[in-house]
Assembly symmetry: C2
Amino acid sequence: MSEGTATQRRPGRPRSQEADAAILRAAVDLLVERGAGEASIEQIAQRAGVTRATVYRRFRDKTQLLVQAVEAENGAQSESALTWPNVDRMLDDWAGYLGHSRHRRILRRLYGALDDFPELLAAYHESYGRRRAEGVRDTLHRAREAGHLPADVDIDFLQQLLSGAVLHHLGAYPDTTGADEIREYLATALRQVGYRPAPPGP
Amino acid sequence: MSEGTATQRRPGRPRSQEADAAILRAAVDLLVERGAGEASIEQIAQRAGVTRATVYRRFRDKTQLLVQAVEAENGAQSESALTWPNVDRMLDDWAGYLGHSRHRRILRRLYGALDDFPELLAAYHESYGRRRAEGVRDTLHRAREAGHLPADVDIDFLQQLLSGAVLHHLGAYPDTTGADEIREYLATALRQVGYRPAPPGP
DNA sequence: CCAACAATACGGTACAGCTCTGTATTTGAT
DNA sequence: ATCAAATACAGAGCTGTACCGTATTGTTGG
């Protein structure tokens, strides 16, 4: 059962896995540097040290390539836990993530490509955002039940507010902002909506 | 005094004002449709019913053209008042603005062009956003003093939160969303941060 | 066990077609 | 005379497809 993984071994020379990885990597790099619209297959192939034919053999068009590149990018990342014991740990995680310039730029590019390549943000959401959003929801829910958030707060809406705060931060603060400062920013946002790390005693 | 407006009548054939307007209009249209990066001077000229030379004579490059186009766009719009008697009126105004598909798409494009054409959002901010932000600040400040907002709320940060909520809405809700629903969205956002139209006092 | 073969990937090159840029030149309006 | 407008031109990049020679695998037959 050497072909047990449902992948029927195709005859002929197998595809180079180095090329696979190099292409996807180059695709994300150019997505970050030039944006989805301006990144060309030509450039991606060149950056990956491969000819265009090698790219066209794998991907129908640029959209498919970018979609798989995005999936691969945070597929490698999503191994880290997407659930947190409490809000503070969640903020730590967020701040760590948003403290990396590459992550910030990817997120901006995905949002900026909404009108032209909606599939990209959809792919991100499918492969990462959705599970993550569930973790956020859970964490906020528990915080509310523990009395750290006002009882009448709308968790779903609060989640949207936090997403918005992230978007605003991505656009308004430099990518060199430190993780600690970002953490403070997110904490301030939560404070505005009534989050209190220490429960409001009897 | 036929040249009294400080505009020294230059010799030779004057520039067509129709061309001026058509170019700027076409520039914004294509910015909306294709984004700053993908909109080409070629297309803009064609859309304006003008040759490229006519565009190059007026604008050094695409960036300058788009900057002036953005300025002209909401320069024509900013005649409407940028101060409001109270928060409710402010939300009415916002919802009316964000209820127009064109406005939503322009804002998305400006944000999406942050990495490649930061001058665009800067131009918007200079010609419109800044004064508007001051109006928002004032309105929120008065609301807090009137007791409609918690006394310990951070006005500047609240403003950023609202900007983020708008960004999130632009990305997450369809452009066909009605103004009334958008108004409800914004009101919900304010409610989460403790806004209460009726003062809480005895 | 080894040789020949089929099937496929890869790099390289080429091609036609399209769009865009930037400048130069000509024509035309005031 | 002076400038605007239209036209023309040279150069560049990207797309999508096609072909070649070579490399790498599995299969088949001796």
